[in-house]
Every structure is written in C-alpha cells, then in structure tokens.
Symmetry: C4
Subunit: 281 residues, 4 copies
C-alpha cells in the first residue's frame, strides 16, 4: 500500500477520524458510536407500527440527518486517506458505504422499503471504533483462541450435522406427518432445536417411542455441549498461559517459539538474544 503524499490538513483529519490517540480523535470516536447507536435505534423504533404511524415523519427526517452525516464522514474519510483505493475496497470502507446507500436507493425505488433493513448493518460500524480502542487486545486473545479452534470446531459441527440428520430421520419415521413432523427438513429443524437445548415446543413428539428418541437426543446434546466448551476453554487457557512464549528467533537456526525463561536455543544450543521488552498482557 503505497501512501500518496497528503497535505497537512488531510493528515490532521486523518489523525482525528482514523486515529484514536489524540483527545480530539477520542471525542470523535465517542460521537461516532453515539450517532451509530442512535441511528440504529431510530430504525428499530420505526419498525413498530404504532410509533411509525405517530412519528414516521420525524423518524424519516432524523434518518436523513444521520445519512447526510455518514455521507459527509464517508467523503472526508476518502479525501484524507493516504491510499484512497485501499480504503474504499477495504471491509470497513464497504461497510461505511452500505451504511448510507439504502436511504438514497429508497428515494429512487420507493418500493424497496424492505431494503431499508440493510441500514441496520450500520451496527457493524461499531467494530471500526472498537478496533481502535484498548479492548482490542482482549478481542485478539478471543479471536486467536477461536482461530486455533477452527479445525476442531469444523470436525465437531460435521459430527453435529450427522447426528441431527440421523435424529431427524428417526423421528420422521417414528412420528410422521400426523404429529407435525411433516418432512425431513422440518424433522432436522426439530432435531437442531432439541439437541441445542433450545426447545421451542412448536413441534414435539407425542408417541412413547418418539419421546424416548427425543430424550436420548437431549442427553446427547447435553453431553456434547461440553465439547465446544472444552475446545475453546482449552485453547483460551493455553492462549493465556502461552504468553510466556517470546517472539525471539534463534540467530543460528532462525526457529522461534522459545519460552520466556530460555537462554539457549532448544534446537541448536546457540545463545538466544536477551529479552529487552515484552508486552505480555
């Protein structure tokens, strides 16, 4: 990403809008969070019929104020970015655009009012602000544990998928359309509702055998809820314990992953560089 030469003013705006260190930047972030949440709140309230009838016009005007504010912000972001193309095509850039487009589109195609729901994706913009603040290191630990767990979680969900398909078919054969299990997809939906212990109760087994199968499914669900928990917990614990690992590389063999208290490379016996400053947690 090659930086374009930027003027002094652009640099100042950039520090306030994209940065978080300066006091002005912090106030900007707080104002942005407040604006995003207010905007989302207005959209939600507008969906309540009573309020829509009473205050629909007011909501519509507020919506336009928010949209114009976000549009202005978007234009300033583009203007002051050192690399405009990179910003516009980044995830955050796209989310910023999605936050303002629907209101304009609703002007052109009045029928597409359900498209207005897309505006709620504005809430994703919250992450832009959170990204900047100090909660990020915590989020990184969580994200790291989730990333390292990905493969185990995939294996686990493949297993879950197979279990729910099998239970769905069993209950479909046993209970059948007469008791609300109209077809296999519905029965699998029931199996997911049951095994995840949600238990709506909109579709329930009524025969003795069906109830026995359900009970088995529940106990299995109750037991295997332990598996993802175990995976994440073990990764999180090792992630938190893992802190002592330093980022030093051996000068001889270039391998990393040495423990904090290691003074010699465990692979080739060479002296390791001393630890100057490690910012662990």
């Amino acid at each position: 990403m090659t930086a374009r030469p930027t003027s002094e003013l652009q640099q100042q705006f950039y520090d306030v809008i994209f940065g978080t260190e300066s006091p002005t930047g912090k106030w900007f972030d707080i104002a942005l969070i407040a604006t995003i949440l207010s905007s989302v709140l207005i959209i939600m309230l507008d969906s309540i019929e009573g309020l829509h009838l009473a205050y629909g016009d007011l909501f519509w005007r507020l919506e336009w104020i928010f949209t114009l504010l976000f549009t202005l912000e978007y234009m300033v972001r583009v203007w002051c970015s050192p690399n405009r193309k990179a910003y516009v095509l980044s995830v955050y850039g796209v989310v910023d655009l999605i936050a303002i487009l629907p209101t304009y589109l609703a002007l052109l195609f009045p029928v597409a009012s359900s498209l207005l729901i897309v505006r709620l994706l504005r809430i994703l913009r919250i992450f832009r602000v959170l990204r900047l603040v100090s909660f990020m290191s915590e989020a990184n630990i969580l994200a790291g544990a989730l990333r390292r767990s990905t493969r185990k979680i995939v294996v686990f969900f493949s297993m879950m998928m197979v279990i729910t398909v099998i239970f769905g078919c069993l209950i479909y054969v046993v209970e059948g359309p007469a008791n609300g299990f109209n077809n296999i997809p519905v029965s699998i939906y029931w199996a997911i509702v049951t095994i995840t212990t949600v238990g709506y109760g909109d579709i329930v087994p009524v025969t003795a055998l069906g109830r026995a199968i359900s009970a088995t499914g529940m106990l299995i669900g109750y037991a295997i809820i332990a598996v993802p928990t175990g995976i994440i917990t073990a990764e999180l614990a090792s992630g938190m314990r893992g802190a002592p690992r330093s980022n030093r590389n051996c000068a001889q063999c270039a391998r990393a992953g040495h423990e904090l208290d290691a003074r010699y490379c465990k692979y080739c016996g060479t002296d390791l560089p001393s630890l100057s400053k490690t910012g662990n947690n």
Copy 2:
C-alpha cells in the same frame, strides 16, 4: 476514614453487630439471616391473592414487626459506628435504609403499594452477613475471576449484541408481522431467546427459510456459549493455580517452583527461605 472515639458500650455493640468473631456476634448473624429470610417470605406469601385475603392483616402486622426490628437495628448500627457518615453512605448503609423506608412511605402515600416490592431488596442484606463469614474467600476467588474477565466479557457481549441484531433483522424480513415478528425489537427479543437457548416458543418461525435461519442461530448460540465459559474457566483455573506456588529459590541448588507450604527444598533437602511476603494474585 478517621475513627471517632467510641465508648466502651458502643465498642461492644459494634463487635456484636458488625463483627463475626465473638460467639454473640455469630448468633446475631444467624438471627439476622433468619429475620431477613422470614421477612422476604412474608412479602412473597402476601403477593398470593388467596393468602392475602385470608391472612393479609397478620402479614401486615408481621411486616411492621420486621420493619421496627430493622429500624432498631439500623439506629444501633448508626449509633455504634466509629465513622457514622461512612456507614450511612456506604452501599450496605443504603441497602439497610432501603429495607425499612418503603413500609413507612406506604403509611404516608397509601397508593404506592407497588412500592412495597422495593422491600424485597432486603434480600441484598444477606450479602452483608455472608461478607463476614468464611465463604468470603471463595467469593473473592469468584469475584477476582469475574473482574479479570470483565474486558473479555464486554467484547463478547458486544459481539452477541451485533449477532442478535443481525439475526433479529433477518428473521423480521423473512417472517414478518404475519408470523408474530411484529417489529424489529420483538425480533431481537426472539433472537436473544433463541441464541441463549431459552426457547420459550411464544414466537417461532414457520417458514422454511425462517426455520433455517433459526437453526443457524441456535448452532451459533450453542457454539458461542463456550466462549464465556472458556473465559471464566481459564481465569478461575489460573486464579486457583496461581496461589500455591511461591517464587522462592533454594539457596543450595537455586531451583524454584516450591509449594507455599514447603519448608525444605524438595530436590536437595536444604532449608528454604521463609515466606516473608508474597504478593500473589
């Protein structure tokens, strides 16, 4: 907090009422717990219509007895505190006041009977007594783990909030008011009911797409329930593991990792330095 000079009698009352070591203090604590729980029980029973009609007068008299007892206790607490202002303004002081005020207010403003519910906050007084007993060290470990997890939990709940908003909007667009998803706040309520695996079943999806979205939400909820568990578990485990190990090194063989209660080096049998002050945890 500068202590006011107190008379011998005040000191004795203070030891009984605020303290927990003396036998009289212990009996006072037990009597206090019994009174609080009886008082709360009476309020609950009084809310049952049948019992209110039959025994309403008795309940009202008992309520006045409890209120007078708590008032007396409150006055003695104020009287014997070395620092009265600090007590009255402390959390416990405020809770003690809240426990007695509603009954008096109900005399002045008879209409405010729903205010009587506030009396149930008396149950918070239980914590005052628990604070004094030995369960406190356990509670401290729990509280410590929760405090250290706070930032991770905040990140987690921000993520949850965004997920429930997105699922709420999706289901609102897909199912709509015709199927009970009247507006976005109701749909978000449904999303929370679903993702936390509560699953009342008062609002359920009926279309195939809505059910597919629900099933996805449930599986996500099932998987991410692991995250707070992992956070707390990892913190609790590190809190419990952290304590017993001291940082002492053996003077003879220089090895560390001795347990807190060890007096001799387990590797070479030499005396270990005594534990002066270890700031663990």
Copy 3:
C-alpha cells in the same frame, strides 16, 4: 467398628454379597443390577394405565417376587455382616430396607398406594453395586471435585437466589397478574425457568418492558452458566493434574502429599522412599 467373630459360612456369604473380587461376587453384582432395574421397570410400566389394566395382576405378582428376593437378600446381608448394627444403620442398609418396606405396608394399609412410588428409591441401590466396581476411582475424582467446589457453589447459588428474586419481583411489577404472573413465587419460578435457559413458555412476558427485562435475564443466565462450569472444570483439572502426587509418607514425620519428583520430604528434609511402582491413572 468392632468386628463380631463370624463363622466360615458367614464369611463366605459376606465375600459374595458385599465383596466384588471373587467371580461369584461379580456374578452376584450383575444379577443384583439386573433385578433392581427389572423391578424399577415393572413399577414404571405399572404406572401406565393401559398396561395396568391389562397386566396389573402380573405386575403385582412380579412385584412380590422382587420384594421377597430383596427381603431374602436383606436378611442374608444382616446375618453375614461382621457388625450388624453398623450395616442396618448405614445409608446403604436404610436404602435396602426402604426398597422392601412399601410393598408390605401396602398390604396393611391398602389406601397408601401412592406410597408404592417410594419403591422407586430402589434405584439408589444401583450405587451400592457401582461402589464396588472399578468405576469408583472415576466417581471419586468427580466427587472430590464436587466436594472441593461446595463452598464456591454455595456462594454461586446464593447469588443466583438473589438474582432470581430480583428478576421475579421486577417482572411481577411490570407484567402483573393480568399476564400470568399471578404472584411473586410464580414470578420467581418464571425467573428460574428463564435464567437456567429451560424456557417452558408456559408463562411469558408480553409487554415491551417485560421482554426487555427477560432478555437481560437470559443474557445474564447465559453468562453466569459459565461460573459453575468454570468452578467444576478448574477443580477437576486440578484434581487430575494432582495425579503426580504420590502416596509416599515421610518416614520421619509421616506426612504425605509429596509430588512425584520430590526426593526429600518438604516438611522435615528427610529422604523420601523411592518410587517403585505408581499406578497413576
């Protein structure tokens, strides 16, 4: 417990009935488990009206056969116990008696047929057999973790109790008897149903504020489900990690609990006996 001199025959019966090492003792245990489960199954089937009408007489005869078998077994147990009083008054002895008494009492007082349900406590006898077999060491690890967690769990449930009382009162004030929250105990029942994520859906909030309160309660329940899990997990993990502890006692001070890699008693500095063979896990 002073042992009474027992005859050869009594000793033999004792080994078969109370012991588990001999082949005959193992077969006796398996037969006992089968009898207990059959007996429990019969009681369950008899509670189904259709089966009771068709096979009630058969069930009653089978019940008497089981009762006579258990009576015989109980008498033999008493007869061959080295310390009869200790057996009769032990938990297992009482459960053994409870397993047979109801059937006889039902003869004397025919009206007390609901008392027959007590026979289902026979299922507790399963534990007697499990106690003897090798699953016991696993159960001990679980029981140990639960015992060490007791105080934390008590603190946790006190917190839960207070939370459910507060949520129950809030919802009672907000929703009221008009929406099914008839009184405070019912509202607390609802709060427990919600916070434990069971979510029957028999009582649900219908006002916007009530739903917001519910959603908050669910999220709290979802978060604090992590606390007992964390407690038990941390204890279990430390219980399993504790395995490296050997059973060696110091010859000098007789204290145990030394780590596997310890060569000197950490309390008095004496040489520890060397580890010949440790059957860990």
Copy 4:
C-alpha cells in the same frame, strides 16, 4: 490383513479411490462429498409433500443415477482392494453397501418405501472422506479426550439417570395424570426435558409444589451441566498440554521440563539425551 497381489491398474485405482495424496485422489474425494451431499439433499427434498408431487419423478431418476454411481464405486472399491474380504466386512464397507441397497430393495418390495429413509445413512459416508483429510488429527484429539472421559461420563450418566427417575417420580406423585403427567415414563421424559434445560413446555407443572420441584430440578440441571463440561475440558486441556513435555533431565544442570522437540537444554545449552521411549499417559 494379508495383501493380495494386485495389478498395476488396481493399484492406480486404489490410490485414487482410497488414497488422498495424489491430485486425482483429492478431486475424487471432493466429487464424492458433493455426490453424497446432493444425494442426501434429494432424499430430504423428496420428503416434502409439495415437492414430491411436483418433482417426484425427477427425484426418482436422480436417485437412480446416484444409486448407480455409488454401486459402480462400490464395485470398483471391492475390485481394487488388496484385501477384499477385509474391506467388505469393515465398518466403511458395510456403510457403503447400506448406501445402495435400499433403492434396489424398494424395487422388489414396493411397500417398503419407509425403508428408503435408510438411504440417509449415506451421510455417514462423509466420515470416510474426512478420515482421509488433515482434519483427522484434530478429530483424534477430540476422540482421545472423549475416550479417556468414557468412564467418568458413564458415572455421570448413571447419576443423571437416578436423578431423572427420582424427579420423574416426585412430579408424578405431586402433579399426577390430571395435569398431563400420565405415568412415570412420561414424567421421566419431562424430567429429562427439564434437567437438560430443553424445556419444550408440552408438559408443565401447574401446582405450587410441582413448580418448586421443577425449579429445584432446573437449578440442579444448571449446576450439573458443568460436570461433563469439566470432564471433557480437563481431558482436552491435558491432551493438548500433556504431549509436549518429556521427562528428560539435562545431564549438565539436571533440570527437567524440556519440551518433546527440544534437543538442547534451554538453560545451559548441553545436548539432551535422546527420547527413547516415553510412556506419557
């Protein structure tokens, strides 16, 4: 398993169909997964009445195409296996056969259309492919943790069984057939639904005592959900942590705790003894 001499062509087919290293083998696996999932999808869609009426014939033709494909694959697998009998009798061989038989049987016995559900067991074939790919090491960690937990889980489920039986009987006595608790098996079904926190709401207690018993059951369920989680988590964590540490001591400085892949002492740089055989866990 003695290998039969195979021709060059058989060996090539074997590498593609059973192997996963060659590029062709990878493409075969991907095609196989796609075919299995399409086939399962068709069966599910066919169970929806509307789609069955409109596209039943198309589905039936597609089903035959899939069946013929799987038949062909099965025959090739048998043909190119070095040990045909071992393949046919292996779990995978049986599942491969079950995946194709029902369609042929439905031709012979048209009445047995519910037998067609058995075709859904095709989904088990997914595991054949997963077995070959790199997710296997993750699955092994999970399977290892589950296997080591088996005995604890058995103890736990015995405890659960006893608890659900006791709660089922209690509620049956308290609520009785008048409130939907028709017999003991149904009451036990209710107890499982409640204690696993599924909470359908099809059978709910209505008396005050019944609700108190339910609430107790829920709190117990809420607490003991921690137990399997703790078991699996502790095993997973020890599975992930346990492997890397060896029991070797440095010959120079005698310190231990070196990782499995370390060849030099990380404290003093001396060569570590090579790992001959470490029986950890």
